[in-house]
């Protein structure tokens, strides 16, 4: 069973539709994580600077 599609049918419409949905979702997740992690790392670096200071 494919997530988000119990009624999975092997036809192009499904592939295209679900493919797009998943691409979008994955992209969004990647972007969020990217920003979150980068932000966290920035913060850690800054923080150490601060402590050293």
């Amino acid at each position: 069973m494919f997530p988000f599609a119990f009624e999975w049918v092997n036809d192009p419409v499904h592939f295209v539709f679900m493919g797009s949905v998943y691409t979008v979702l994955i992209l969004l997740v990647i972007i969020l994580h990217y920003c979150g992690i980068r932000g966290f790392l920035d913060w850690l670096c800054k923080k150490e600077d601060h402590n050293d200071h």
């Binding site: 069973m1 119990f6 850690l44 923080k47 150490e48 601060h50 402590n51």
Partner: protein, 228 residues
Amino acid sequence: MSTTEEKEQTAGEQGGEHGPEEATHEPVKPGAWRFLIPIVAFGAGFVSLLVLGWVIFPHLLYGEKQQPVDFSHVVHQEAVDEGCESCHFFREDGSFSGIPKLENCVQCHEEPMGESSEEAKFIAEYVEPGKEIPWHVYARQPQCAFFSHAAHVKMAELECAKCHGPVGDSDHARPYQYNRLTKYSRDIWGWNIAGFKKKTADRMKMDDCAECHEESKGHKDACFVCHK
């Protein structure tokens, strides 16, 4: 836009407000380890929710009941000639009798047949007053489902155990667990709280029906094959 001075200032201003109540966590470590605080807090929250979800939750969700009579399939299997169908038979109209009615039991059990105390209890409590036994049905399917035993047993020639598991080999009636919210038997979702299954008989959700239909027929079948 913001400056470090501002940050420290505000922290200093309002720091005292919440402090003491929240001191249950590990003591504040100064210096380099300080950055671990959020990470440890994260871990603690993470683990406690995991425990809650995987260990405690099932106990909250499911209630348990004992069967009215401790029934032994083993003993009965030995006593009857036609296997499961001796008691779980098809009616003339093609419907399946399911769990036998008292009248079926009485055919043999008018008088005690053995020494067992459970049988004595059964006869005293149900046979003599002529009361139907309020069995809890492990495999009770929801109102919306039409399960055809005839199609599966007579046409597809499935073994009972395929879906019901080795019930026939049980010597005792296992406790019946039910979902407090849905009133379903726990056997439907399966005893694994995550819904994982190893054997076909471990779960009885629609997905499991569909899985088997897909394997044997090549498609999941139309809705109305099993729904009503």
